[in-house]
Symmetry: C2
Subunit: 219 residues, 2 copies
């Protein structure tokens, strides 16, 4: 067991990046709001340098917009932007799913079943939303994981974060939620059957319905 397990000691800047990414995606900041750097310093209990480094990363990632000499702001929720993000999700995740079904091995099948199961068992009570969200994200990421393209996965993650900003701000629609949850199970079935076409169609429909829910945030 001589494997050198490098201590994954995060820097302050990395921790702030992760925390703020989470908070931004989950709507803890008002859309369009100007980011008060001094406020954040207290909120996250960090100094200025690592905080600014995190903000710079978030801006390059697309979760903040940076305006030279006048700081950072949270991007607005904009109908056109949501259309764009949802459309790109359809294209890219559809593409990735096709490839994943072609490449995925037995290990993938197991992980996919596991991820779907965990998601199904998780309850969606108000106090545990964050937990559910995490499992949901993990399910979708497992689904496309073996697509074989690091860049495709990277873009998909980025789009997911953008999309979730809208979805998490939108009011829930219980009856659609039920359909969406059922689709997760159906996606797994189709993936295991290696039915590329049907799986892709279903995933695109899944994204389309989520999009309609997310629309509630910027109407």
């Amino acid at each position: 067991m001589g494997v050198l397990h490098r201590k994954e000691s995060a820097t302050t800047a990395s921790r702030v990046f992760d925390a703020m990414r989470h908070d931004l995606v989950n709507g803890r900041f008002a859309a369009g709001e100007k980011v008060a750097i001094n406020g954040l310093k207290e909120q996250y209990q960090v100094g200025l340098s690592p905080l600014r480094e995190a903000l710079n990363r978030l801006a390059a990632y697309g979760l903040l917009v940076q305006e030279n000499q006048r700081g950072f702001r949270v991007p607005r929720l904009d109908r056109r932007e949501l259309d764009d993000v949802a459309g790109m999700r359809r294209e890219l995740e559809g593409m990735a799913l096709e490839r994943a079904i072609l490449n995925g091995d037995a290990e993938w099948e197991s992980e996919l079943l596991a991820a779907a199961h965990r998601l199904k068992r998780a309850d969606l009570s108000p106090t545990k939303v964050d937990e559910w969200e995490q499992l949901h994200t993990r399910f979708h990421s497992t689904l496309v994981a073996p697509c074989g393209s690091v860049w495709l996965l990277r873009f998909i993650d980025q789009l997911h974060d953008q999309f979730d900003r809208y979805r998490r701000m939108a009011p829930g629609v219980p009856e659609v939620r039920k359909v969406l949850d059922a689709q997760h199970g159906e996606l797994v079935e189709l993936a295991l059957e290696r039915d590329v076409k049907a799986a892709r169609a279903l995933l695109e429909d899944h994204i389309e319905r989520s999009y309609e829910v997310a629309l509630g945030s910027c109407k």
Copy 2:
């Protein structure tokens, strides 16, 4: 003319970001090399804070890799990575071109012709390579500009930068270069004729041939 023309005064961090992005794409840093922060301070004549902010942005953008507690390095040139980047370029630029041809208006046609012309006239002598590269980038970006998706354009830019790191390190292949140059003109023709399928096929072939040239950098 009361239009307030906001001075686009860049911050030091932004200027360093732009300069380093250019230098990284054009191979001014050895692949795999560890970035010596103190060296860069002198090289770009800036202080530590703006420099680090620029490095953080570049890492989020994918032109540097960040390893916690041990700084930044220039990503290696890796055959698999190039395959991935080229493959994604084919997919995304193909998609974008189809949409651009459907959406592009007369103004686009003019700009496209202009961009192609400027590129054709530019000479590729060793001293003016940077200039040629800039026109080349601009041509490809004009080609897909009216695709209607901000995110798609963003991803394409990112992939272009990645791809060019490889291509600029590869030895030139004059006879392929001739074919590639000719294809630029043919792309314009097909785009103006609104021949979606043929244009897409040609663009994919164009990328494929460029890829074969770029391969010379990591064999």
